[in-house]
Subunit: 504 residues, 2 copies
Amino acid sequence: MTYETRSLAESAPAGTDRTEAAPAGADFLQLNIGDAPAGGRSDWLAQHLRLAIADGRLPVGSRLPATRVLAGELRVSRGVITEAYQRLSEDGHVAGHGRNGTVVVAAPVTALPDTPADPPPPPPSTLFTAPPDTDVFDSLRAAPARIDLSPGVPDLAAFPRAAWLRAERTVLKELSASALGYGDPRGAPALRVAVADWLARTRGIRADPGDIVIVAGTAQTITLLGQILRGDGIRTMAVEDPGSLGARHHLHNAGLDTPPVPVDADGIRVDELRATGAPAVLLTPAHQFPTGVVLGGERRRELMRWATERDGLIVEDDYDAEHRYDRAPVPALRSLLAEHVCYAGSVSKLLAPALRIGWVLAPPKYRDALVAAKRYADLGNATLPQLVLAQLMESGALERQLRLLRGRHRRHRDAMITAIKAHLPHAVVHGAAAGLHLTITFDAGFHDTDLAAAALARGVKVQPLSWHRRRAHRPGLVLGYAAPTATDIAEGIATLGDVLRRLP
Amino acid sequence: MTYETRSLAESAPAGTDRTEAAPAGADFLQLNIGDAPAGGRSDWLAQHLRLAIADGRLPVGSRLPATRVLAGELRVSRGVITEAYQRLSEDGHVAGHGRNGTVVVAAPVTALPDTPADPPPPPPSTLFTAPPDTDVFDSLRAAPARIDLSPGVPDLAAFPRAAWLRAERTVLKELSASALGYGDPRGAPALRVAVADWLARTRGIRADPGDIVIVAGTAQTITLLGQILRGDGIRTMAVEDPGSLGARHHLHNAGLDTPPVPVDADGIRVDELRATGAPAVLLTPAHQFPTGVVLGGERRRELMRWATERDGLIVEDDYDAEHRYDRAPVPALRSLLAEHVCYAGSVSKLLAPALRIGWVLAPPKYRDALVAAKRYADLGNATLPQLVLAQLMESGALERQLRLLRGRHRRHRDAMITAIKAHLPHAVVHGAAAGLHLTITFDAGFHDTDLAAAALARGVKVQPLSWHRRRAHRPGLVLGYAAPTATDIAEGIATLGDVLRRLP
């Protein structure tokens, strides 16, 4: 996505507006060039555009006015505009796209100046006041912020770009032409073998590669499984409380009710699960989301009894089990009771969510239905990335990446805990021995949605614990520490502390 | 996937069998080493294994016995076995996978010897006698064959591996870390802009990039759309007859009835469509599958009237419109009536089905529902391949690829027509001016499924026309010419001629 000056000259021909949220040609951003310092007009313009991208006035996907048009409006030479656009392009905020002009492609992640000319407006007021439905969840994800402490992603700056490219070169060199055709809906045989090895090595699961289905992440697993279960007459899947809001959205969309089951210091309360009467349950036993609790030994045995006696189904979402800092992860439930456990893993927390690669081990009775559901969903995952991943798994590169990530994440976590001690001294930290996030709770009477809203207005994105919790509870936040830098973490937590002190 | 001798030593430890269709350790393939010529035992064994892979006794995904075990059973030195496996590995038929032993990864595509020691058995007898349901369709796709004349794939040997790798390098170099997180379920903005440009340039469609949804191919489009239509109370989508069997399978799975509407020399009979009362229809107007007919001008106007008067929905499957040899493709229906047309395209016929990338332009009233359906399906396509494709589109590499493909496909088509004239002189050829396949029909009284079955028994894979047609019709075949070489095409058609002469 290099920036081409050429494209500017061609942008925005009259009458061909095809922008998503088109900034008006007239009075664009209410800029007053008289405010710009002499000799610094390009800088001044670039900075105003960055702010407008950051606060959402210029959303991702919108198009900047043609240089010719904006130069005319501001009464400056076209070179001033071109130079400002060029800076934004070098930042990675905009890209030139041939006849389509210059388009906003990314919101800034660097710190904004302390005293912007126009302070960004607060986020849409419904974001933390409405029920957290899918739209609200997506809006938070899309909302611009200086510092993003959302949970759920690993350190994306550590993605092994060079190793990925090397493996892709090998794959493209060795691939047969026929492998570029329609493939097995279960996924590439080489990746299923590599995943079987990986699960044996890291999660204690013995699986036949023929039983593994490669999917587009755990979101797809839940959707496919929901279809299968409805076909089998199952309309209820219990979930942990607190538990992932996103997973709950997916289950509801699949037509399943989700009675909540409390989680205590040993994990899900199996007696309460039994009391719901639900025939299925979605669990995060290795590192409960968001509390970080590990399912205890007696609780595991109790759960096994529940599944066996009731012919119950356990969906094991093993989302970040590999990321432990204190000891080896506990074995997967699947390794104990294959008949009753549908195991779901992915590379979203190991490499990157953008890869959209995961795997499922269905219980034998749902195996064929899962393959059929995956076939009808999309005929199987794309082949090249599967083969690249298989290379990374078989060569040991993925294990090296995991070791590297563990070190980085631990340092990020330590930075977050240090900052919490300094700036949020009354917060209680939960589940910090593993994973990519921690949870803090407060023994106080405010709404955590108000805290999250006020933080976002100050450019810091966090998720309120209440989004992930349905019973009455203390206010809290779920804080991801993997993706931001240690500096961002410290600054973000300091901002939270300041915001909390000013809460009414 | 290089072959490692090391892995053999570790393969198949006792009691850890995890093969998909495990060849028995005892009496493996009923080999009798006494038949092998002295000094040629490795060759003899390798040849027998190739045959077993070709005829399905050793399916893709199955594991070969450990060298130690097989050497013991055949009473030869282990070096004989290792050498035979090594040859198969060099062929690309098997690969060593660490602790998992040696696994069959591809069936042979080279010609088999004329007089194999054991002639391969005929294909499963149900393949062309049972109704062509999904399992049968998949079985044919998976069935080994010397020469594959199935329709539906471009020349995969022409896939631009070097250009793909170069573009991937650029993408990995320029990508922001945050782009590796969860993205817009509609797809990467850069690709949506590139597709909008592509559609404007090649298909006469003006589309806002914000309205384009990137999907995992047209199979996913049909499944997502089926969900949306059912939610809107629509349970019927008329289809062309003849028309794609695979599309029909997907529509049925999505819960839609598919009344057939006859196709004549001008395309679908709109009067007959009207008579079905169906509120929606799936069409291939630019190059009807499988007849190759182009929807005529008057028929297009009639169809527009139908859609407007009835508030009908047209799903335009534009699967191979770019592949015309005689003239520019006709504009897409979407370019005429965006309100009533859901446009579906993909790179499956431009680059490779294995990429699983396509795009949809929904009518405005279904736009938001489509985005939601895609979100719940898989949170959006994988990002890296989207950005690579965007590079190839914006740089002109995809257009160069298309020009290259057109030349290659035309030569393949000419080779097929020449061979048909020579070996099937009574066949009538349909729809040869465009696309990746042609259809032949016979003015005779046999069943085309019998012809396809007999051809497969001789190692040549074709699809009977009756699979794609529901009303009474003459026997015929649908023959893909894009993927096989000109030599394979000539040999395959010659075999068909021979098979036809011997039909009872």
